[in-house]
Amino acid sequence: MASIRIDGLTKVYPGDVTAIDGLDVTVEDGSFFALLGPSGCGKTTLLRTIAGLEEASGGSISIGDRDVTRLAPGDRNVAMVFQDYALFPHMTVTDNIAYPLRIKKVGRSERAAKAAETGEGLGLSALMARRPGELSGGQQQRVALARAMACQPDVFLLDEPLSNLDARLRLEARTFLKRLQKDLGVTTVFVTHDQSEALAMADQIAVMEAGRIRQLGTPSEIFRRPANTFVANFIGSTPMNMLPGKLVGGVLQVGALEGVDAVAAGWAGREAPDGEVTVAFRPEYARVDGKGPLVFEGTVETTESLGASVLVTARTDDGQRVQVVVPEGEEPEVGAVVGVAPASGRVLVYDAEGELLSPSSSVP
């Protein structure tokens, strides 16, 4: 077990593609760490560079006290679980699990015992004599995990661990993976482009964009207080409401509303230069009953059912679109005039560069 420290890591692919761009991050010992970001932002590259399957172009990677930047994959004591599992199709489940131990020169009987024990822990006992082609997707994933676990690595690396499972199994596997990681206590880094997966499973999330980390935090920090407009736009099952506003003499103006009370906006008024800002709030953290210190008047354009709740889309008089999620049965009629009121303390203010102005803790 070990922490992972990454300093100034850069990975440039042939053809001058910078996939990782001077990235620093520390993954705490024993944590379940998610790399989250849109497709092509460098998640897989970062994971593969930690595994040693790609060579770093610059910077360093340490696992525990060891600098592993130049070590071969097999010498890093990490175990990678591939997106397509990459089980050996010509070997039985037992051999798949035991094979890495053979490379580590573990004796035959000890190998068999270890494979049986690991397999049993993952509910594979009845399948040990089968070949991967005779297993379901979920079972194959467990074999891949067992193969990784049998080596007792310092670190697990999982690339999109749930993407090859069908939707129903995915929820089950989420719970299973999270419990397994907690039971084993092994530092685990996993890659996902699915924010709900990251929010549900991880202790820490790094949101990436173009080879850099844009925010590092717990799921609730990332969900409640995105550090910049990129993360704010990326996170959340419904898009964040983003309205243009202005800071004049330290006082916030949003649309037609002038001189909005700083406290009402949950914005403690850090010394910020006057200028354009973006005022943001989540559709989940707003109401349509006009009760609140900050109210945007608008006309309901559409209502869409999300199952237990309804997404209401309204347009303000000055043409801004605002969305609110309300409980099912409480949605207004299309065409009705409503007052959209974000919950106090849930309004975020971003400066012209898109960085969060609100203090990152102490929500009033």
Binding site: A51, L53, A79, F82, A86, H90, Y99, I103, G133
Partner: protein, 225 residues
């Protein structure tokens, strides 16, 4: 017509065909495997050498290679593959050189068959092997080749069938295999169509089981992913 055939030792001629096939098949498999490994190796020079061999050999007529082996390499360079003092040295030398030539020629096709087998192995297999800590040699031996051979069984069967039939080219350097005997019989006797049919049947008897065996093997050993 059968009394015509009884004057000749047809079985011995086909036995020579089988021997030629057997030994050159083993040679071709060994050389072809080495070539295939060269062609997928991480070393660019080896890859290019392998590709060069395949392209040159595959595009040269087999007759030329067989003739060149004995006449060019065997006789001009005075390389004997048998004890020159034995009574049958000339004949045996031609047979050995025919085997070498057939092996060298078909190795190119074995290499391509294996390469198609390599292509059935996903890249992830090599990476999984590497991340477990296997060396290039180990991952080749234990992970890649077993799968590549299984994926190459059907094309390898086709190469073996082609090789069986191509042994007839050995007659150009005087090896007394089946087709050489057929020519002799047709020249000496009158029932040429019947003789031709008998020899054709002989080759079908040799190659048909090979085809069936390889088809069933490739089905049984197929890698389920």
């Amino acid at each position: 017509m059968f009394d015509v055939l009884e004057k000749y030792d047809i079985l011995a001629a086909f036995w020579m065909t089988i021997k030629l096939t057997f030994f050159s098949a083993i040679g071709a498999l060994v050389i072809g495997t080495v070539l295939a490994i060269m062609r997928v190796s991480p070393v660019a020079v080896l890859r290019r050498l392998g590709a060069f061999y395949v392209n040159v050999v595959r595009n040269t007529p087999l007759t030329l290679i067989v003739f060149f082996s004995l006449a060019g390499v065997g006789i001009v360079l005075q390389i004997n593959l048998v004890d020159p003092n034995s009574a049958t040295s000339l004949r045996d030398n031609a047979i050995r050189w025919a085997m070498v030539a057939l092996a060298v020629y078909h190795a190119a096709f074995v290499c391509e068959a294996l390469r198609s087998g390599f292509n059935t192995v996903p890249l992830g297999q090599a990476e999984a092997a590497r991340s477990i800590g296997l060396t290039f040699g180990q991952s080749l031996r234990e992970v890649i080749l077993p799968q590549a051979f299984r994926g190459a069984i059907a094309p390898l069967g086709s190469v073996l069938i082609a090789l069986t039939k191509n042994t007839t080219v050995a007659s150009v350097i005087g090896v007394a295999e089946a087709s050489a005997l057929m020519k002799v019989i047709i020249e000496n006797e009158t029932a040429s169509v019947a003789v031709f049919l008998v020899f054709a049947l002989g080759f079908v008897i040799l190659t048909l089981p090979v085809g069936l065996l390889f088809t069933s093997l490739s089905r049984r050993l197929a890698v389920k992913r």
